[in-house]
C-alpha cells in the first residue's frame, strides 16, 4: 500500500517484534475493518481474524428447519429480523418458505412483533436470535406480551459472546493473542465478563467502537498491553461504560436464563445461550409446538464453521467466490451482510487483492 500504518500501530508493533493475531467477535467490526481496508493498512505483524461475531452465522441450520416446520405443521406465524430471512435451511430458507405460503413477517424490533401479534391474533412466534445487545430488547417485549396477554411465543437461539470467546481459546489449532471486544455487547455487559477472560487466559480484551479510528485506538491499547505484559480488559469505546447497562441486564434476568446451546462451528457450548425463564415457560415455542426435524446436512465443502472459529479465512474455502457468492450463498457466513465471507467478497481482504 505504501502508506504508513495507522496511528501508533507501526511503532508499537515494531517494538513488540512478533506477529500477533487479534480476533474480533462482532459482525459490525468485520464490515468496518474490510470496508475501510484497515486489515491491509495495519503492519503485517498485526493479523486481524474474525470470530463467531455474527448471530445469524452462528445459528445452526436446524433452527431454521424447526421454525419452518412450526409454520407449516402448526400454522404458526413467524416474526423475524430481516437478517435471518435468506439463511439456507436444509432444504430452503424462510424466504423460500414464505413464497410457498408460510406466514413469515420481517420486523425491525421485537416490539413490532408484539404489536402485530396483538392486532392479528392467532399463534405466532418471534425468532429470538441475537447476542447480549439484542437479548434485553427481546426480554422486554416478551414480558410486555405476557403482561398484555398477547399470544406471542419465542423460538430461542439467543447467545452469549464470552463463552464463545472461551471456546475459541480452548479450541485446538486456534491461536488468538488478544480480543477486540464488541462495543454494543459491552454497552450491556460492561467489562466484567471480558475481565474474567483476560485474567484466566492472559489475553488482552479491549472493547472497540466501530469507526476505523476507534478500532485503531483499541488495537493500540492491545499492543501496549502485550508490550507491557499486562493483559487486561478495558473499554476504548466511550458508549460502553465499565459497568455496562444494569437496567438492561435486570430485564434479561427477569425473562431469560442461561442454557446450553449449539453454535455453528463450535458445537454445543455450556451456558452460552439464553432460554426463557420458568415463569415464561408457556411462551416457549419449542415446548408449545414440538417438531421433529431430521439432522441438518450442511454442504460438506462449506467452511463456514472453520471461518467462524478463525481456523480458516474465507478465501481458504473452495466454494468462496465460485459456487458461493452473496447472490447465491451456500453458507450463512456469505448470507449475512455481516458475515466474514460476505465482507471479504464485497470489500476484499489481506492477501486477496
Amino acid at each position: 500500500m505504501g502508506s504508513d500504518p495507522p496511528g501508533r500501530t507501526g511503532e508499537l508493533s515494531a517494538e513488540l517484534g512478533r506477529t500477533i493475531t487479534v480476533m474480533e467477535v462482532c459482525g459490525t467490526h468485520t464490515v468496518s475493518i474490510h470496508r475501510s481496508g484497515l486489515d491491509r493498512l495495519l503492519p503485517p505483524e498485526v493479523r486481524l481474524l474474525s470470530g463467531p461475531g455474527c448471530p445469524v452465522c452462528v445459528t445452526p441450520t436446524d433452527y431454521i428447519d424447526r421454525a419452518m416446520a412450526m409454520a407449516f405443521r402448526h400454522g404458526v406465524r413467524l416474526y423475524t429480523f430481516g437478517d435471518l430471512l435468506k439463511v439456507p435451511g436444509s432444504r430452503e430458507s424462510l424466504a423460500d418458505a414464505r413464497a410457498r405460503g408460510a406466514e413469515v413477517d420481517v420486523v425491525a424490533s421485537p416490539e413490532d412483533a408484539l404489536r402485530l401479534a396483538s392486532s392479528r391474533g392467532g399463534p405466532s412466534a418471534f425468532l429470538a436470535v441475537g447476542f447480549e445487545t439484542t437479548a434485553p430488547t427481546i426480554a422486554a417485549a416478551l414480558l410486555q406480551a405476557r403482561d398484555q396477554g398477547v399470544d406471542l411465543a419465542a423460538l430461542c437461539a439467543m447467545k452469549l459472546i464470552p463463552p464463545a470467546m472461551e471456546a475459541v481459546l480452548e479450541a485446538p489449532g486456534t491461536r488468538v493473542d488478544a480480543f477486540l471486544c464488541p462495543g454494543h455487547v459491552a454497552v450491556i455487559t460492561g467489562l466484567e465478563p471480558f475481565r474474567r477472560i483476560s485474567k484466566e487466559y492472559g489475553v488482552p480484551c479491549v472493547v472497540g467502537g466501530f469507526e476505523p479510528p476507534e478500532i485503531v485506538r483499541a488495537l493500540e491499547r492491545i499492543l501496549q498491553m502485550l508490550l507491557d505484559e499486562e493483559p487486561g480488559a478495558e473499554s476504548a469505546y466511550p458508549a460502553a461504560a465499565a459497568g455496562g447497562n444494569p437496567a438492561a441486564r435486570r430485564m434479561m434476568d427477569r425473562a431469560l436464563v442461561p442454557c446450553d446451546t449449539e453454535w455453528r462451528g463450535l458445537g454445543i457450548i455450556p451456558e452460552s445461550g439464553l432460554c426463557l425463564a420458568d415463569e415464561l415457560a408457556e411462551m416457549d415455542a419449542a415446548r408449545r409446538w414440538p417438531v421433529e426435524v431430521p439432522p441438518a446436512e450442511d454442504d460438506p465443502a462449506c467452511l463456514c464453521g472453520e471461518v467462524l472459529t478463525g481456523s480458516a479465512e474465507p478465501p481458504d474455502c473452495p466454494l468462496f467466490g465460485e459456487r458461493c457468492t452473496p447472490r447465491s450463498p451456500v453458507g450463512p457466513c456469505m448470507v449475512s451482510s455481516e458475515g466474514s465471507c460476505a465482507a471479504w467478497f464485497k470489500y476484499g481482504g489481506r492477501g486477496l487483492d
Partner: protein, 72 residues
C-alpha cells in the same frame, strides 16, 4: 446485527420516547435505560434505547455511519 444508531431524544412519553436524526423521527421504547431526558442522545438498537451517550461521541459516530451508508 448489533448495529445501533445514536439519536437525539426530543420527547419523553412514559415508557416511550420520540428520537430524531435530521430527516428521521422515530418512536422507541425506553424500558432498558434509566435517567434519560429530552436533549440526551440515546443509542437505539432494535427499537429500544440501550444506553445514553455523550453528544460529542454521538455526533462522531453519526458522521461515520453516514459515510458507511454513502459507500453502500
Amino acid at each position: 446485527m448489533c448495529l445501533a444508531v445514536p439519536m437525539k431524544i426530543v420527547q419523553m412519553d412514559g415508557p416511550e420516547a420520540t428520537v430524531e436524526l435530521p430527516g428521521v423521527r422515530k418512536r422507541v421504547r425506553m424500558d432498558l435505560v434509566e435517567g434519560a431526558s429530552v436533549g440526551d442522545y440515546a443509542l437505539i438498537h432494535a427499537g429500544y434505547a440501550i444506553t445514553v451517550m455523550p453528544e460529542e461521541e454521538a455526533l462522531e459516530t453519526l458522521s461515520y455511519l453516514r459515510e458507511m451508508a454513502d459507500g453502500l
